[in-house]
C-alpha cells in the first residue's frame, strides 16, 4: 500500500502517527543505551543507596523491636525503596532542563514548526531515554536487594497492577517536568523550581522514607499529593498488593494527570505566542 493510501485510511493515519513517535522513542533509547559507562555509574549509585538503606532500616527496626511497620517488613521496605529509586533515577537527564534549554536557546521555535506534536515528541523521548536506565537499574537493584535482604513474595496481579500505576506515574512526572521547563518562557532561571520539585519527591515521594512508615495523619496527606503518585505508589503496590489501595492510588493519579495535563497544555499554548523567529 502506498503512503498516500495509508494516510487516506483513518486507522492507517493513526498507525502512521504512532509509528512516528515510536521511532522518536527508539532513537532516544539507542542514544541513551550507547553510553554504557554512564548507565553503569548511575546504577552504582543505586547500589550504594540500597546498601545504606539496608543498614539504616535493619538497625532502625531492631532498635524499635518490631518486625513490621505499616504492613512492611525490612525486606519489603528495601525492595520498595529499590524500585522507587530505580524508577526515579531512570528519568535522568531531567526533562525540565532540556525544555528549559530549548526555550532559552530558541531551538523550540524550530521544533514547533516540524510535523509532530511538541508535547508528544518530548513524551516519546522521555520514555525512550528512560527504558535502558530503567532496565539496568532494576536488574542491578534486584540483584543487590536479593543479596542484602533476600527475596519477597511477588504475585502476578501485584506486578500487573503495579506496572499500570508505574506507567501513569510516568505520565504524571512528565507533565510536571514539562510545566517546570515551560516556565522558562516567563522566568530567567527555572532551577529553583526543579530543586523544590525534586525535594517534594524526596520527602513525599517515598524515595528515602516509605510513606507507609509515616505517622498516620501525614500518611493520609502524603498519599493525596502528586509526589507519592509518581513512583512510590507502584513500588508500594508491587511489594504488598491490596486492590483497594490500587483503586485509591489510580484515582488520585488520574485526577493529578488531568490537572497537570491541562496546566501544561495551557502554558504551552500561551508560551508559544512569545516565540518569534528572526530568520537565521
Amino acid at each position: 500500500m502506498s503512503e498516500v493510501k495509508i494516510l487516506q485510511n483513518g486507522s492507517g493515519l493513526i498507525w502512521y502517527k504512532f509509528l512516528k513517535y515510536f521511532e522518536i522513542a527508539k532513537v532516544n533509547y539507542f542514544n541513551s543505551a550507547t553510553y554504557f559507562v554512564n548507565l553503569i555509574s548511575r546504577s552504582a549509585m543505586v547500589v550504594i543507596r540500597i546498601w545504606i538503606f539496608t543498614q539504616l532500616y535493619k538497625v532502625s527496626y531492631s532498635i524499635a523491636g518490631v518486625s513490621e511497620i505499616g504492613g512492611l517488613t525490612v525486606a519489603m521496605v528495601i525492595w520498595n525503596l529499590m524500585m522507587t529509586q530505580s524508577f526515579q533515577t531512570a528519568t535522568k537527564p531531567q526533562l525540565s532542563k532540556l525544555i528549559d534549554e530549548e526555550v532559552k536557546s530558541g531551538t523550540l521555535a524550530y521544533s514547533v514548526n516540524r510535523p509532530y506534536s511538541y508535547i508528544l515528541f518530548h513524551f516519546s523521548g522521555f520514555v525512550g531515554r528512560s527504558v535502558p536506565n530503567l532496565l539496568i537499574n532494576l536488574f542491578i537493584g534486584s540483584l543487590v536487594a536479593f543479596v542484602l535482604v533476600g527475596p519477597i513474595g511477588l504475585s502476578w496481579e501485584a506486578l500487573a497492577f503495579g506496572v499500570i500505576l508505574f506507567f501513569f506515574g510516568y505520565i504524571l512526572d512528565f507533565f510536571v517536568s514539562l510545566i517546570i521547563g515551560l516556565t522558562a518562557f516567563w522566568v530567567e532561571d527555572t532551577s529553583a523550581f526543579t530543586w523544590i520539585y525534586s525535594k517534594g519527591q524526596l520527602v513525599f515521594g517515598g524515595l528515602i522514607l516509605p510513606i507507609a512508615l509515616f505517622p498516620d495523619y501525614l500518611q493520609k496527606i502524603a498519599e493525596l499529593l502528586p509526589f507519592s503518585q509518581m513512583y512510590y505508589s507502584a513500588a508500594r503496590l508491587i511489594v504488598h498488593f491490596e486492590l483497594s489501595l490500587f483503586l485509591q492510588y489510580f484515582a488520585t493519579q488520574l485526577v493529578w494527570i488531568l490537572f497537570f495535563g491541562l496546566v501544561a497544555y495551557y502554558l504551552f499554548n500561551k508560551g508559544i505566542k512569545h516565540v518569534s523567529v528572526n530568520g537565521g
Binding site: V37, S41, R42, I52, S60, G200, I208, P215
Partner: protein
C-alpha cells in the same frame, strides 16, 4: 615567603569570588530566586528526617539534633567549596575538551585558577541555611561556634581535595566526567543518614574510596565532643589528601594535550 604567597592567593580568591557574586547580582530576581530556592530545598531534608525520627527516635544514640548538626556542617562545607571553588566540578570537562590552554597562559597557579573560575550562586542559600540551623543543633557555646568554623573550613578543604582527585583522573583515562560526578554524589549521599547506622564493609568504603567518614562522621563527633587526638587525625587526613590531589594534578598536567581550540572569553 610561603606564608605571604598563601595570603596573596587567599585575597585573590576573595576578589575573584566577590566579582562573580557582584556580576550575578546584576540579575537581581534570578539571584534571589536561586538563593531562596536553595534555602527552601535544604529545609526539605530536615523535614524528612523530622518525620523519620518521629518513628525511630534514636539510632544507636544518634538523635534528630545530631542530624541537624550533620546538615549544618555538610551544607556549610559544601557551600564553601561551591562559592569559592565551583570550577573544581568543571575540571574533568575542561581537561577532556582541551580547554586548560586558557589557564596555562596566566602567571598564576593553573589549578587555583581553574578552581576559582566559577561561583555557584545558589550555594549562598546553602551557607545561610547551614549557619542558621547550626543554632538549632543543641546547646551552643562559644567553644562550639569556634569549632564549627574551624572544622567547617577544614572539611571543606578535604571535600575540595576529593573533587580535585576524582576529576583529575581524566588526565589518565580520557573521559571520567560522569564517574567523577557520581563519586561526588556518593560522598554527599552518605552525609544524609544517621552516621551510627553504618557498619561492616560499608564503613570500610566510607573510610577509603568514598571518605565520607572524614567529612561527616568524625567532624560531627568532634564538634559535639572535642578530642585532640581525633582532631589531629582530621588534620593529618587533610594534609594527606592535599598531597595526593597536588601530585595527581601536577603529574596529570604533564600528560595534558592541548585541544587546539580557539576560544574567545568575554
Amino acid at each position: 615567603m610561603f606564608l605571604s604567597t598563601v595570603v596573596k592567593y587567599i585575597s585573590l580568591t576573595w576578589e575573584m569570588t566577590k566579582l562573580s557574586i557582584l556580576s550575578a547580582m546584576e540579575y537581581r530576581v534570578s539571584f534571589f530566586v536561586q538563593v531562596f530556592g536553595m534555602f527552601v530545598n535544604d529545609i526539605a531534608f530536615i523535614v524528612m528526617w523530622l518525620i523519620f525520627f518521629q518513628k525511630f527516635p534514636s539510632i544507636n544514640g544518634w538523635q534528630f539534633q545530631d542530624t541537624v548538626m550533620l546538615f549544618a556542617l555538610t551544607t556549610v562545607n559544601f557551600a564553601i567549596v561551591m562559592i569559592f571553588a565551583r570550577g573544581a566540578f568543571e575540571l574533568s570537562r575542561t581537561i577532556a575538551r582541551g580547554e586548560l590552554d586558557y589557564y596555562l597562559s596566566f602567571p598564576k597557579n593553573v589549578l587555583w585558577h581553574v578552581l576559582v573560575s566559577k561561583t555557584e550562586i545558589s550555594a549562598i542559600g546553602d551557607l545561610l541555611f547551614g549557619l542558621i540551623i547550626f543554632f538549632f543543633s543543641g546547646n551552643i557555646s562559644l567553644e562550639k561556634i569556634g569549632l564549627f568554623v574551624v572544622i567547617g573550613i577544614l572539611t571543606a578543604l578535604i571535600f575540595l581535595n576529593f573533587i580535585i582527585i576524582t576529576q583529575s583522573i581524566t588526565f589518565y583515562v580520557g573521559n571520567f566526567e560522569e564517574a567523577a560526578e557520581q563519586m561526588f554524589h556518593a560522598l554527599l549521599g552518605f552525609a544524609f543518614y544517621p552516621q551510627t547506622a553504618f557498619y561492616g564493609a560499608l564503613k570500610i568504603v566510607m573510610l577509603t574510596i568514598i571518605p565520607a567518614f572524614f567529612i561527616t562522621t568524625l567532624p560531627v563527633q568532634l564538634i559535639q565532643k572535642f578530642n585532640l587526638q581525633l582532631f589531629l587525625i582530621l588534620i593529618g587526613f587533610w594534609i594527606f589528601t592535599t598531597i595526593i590531589a597536588t601530585v595527581i594534578f601536577k603529574r596529570g598536567l604533564r600528560r595534558y594535550e592541548s585541544g587546539n581550540l580557539i576560544n574567545v572569553k568575554m
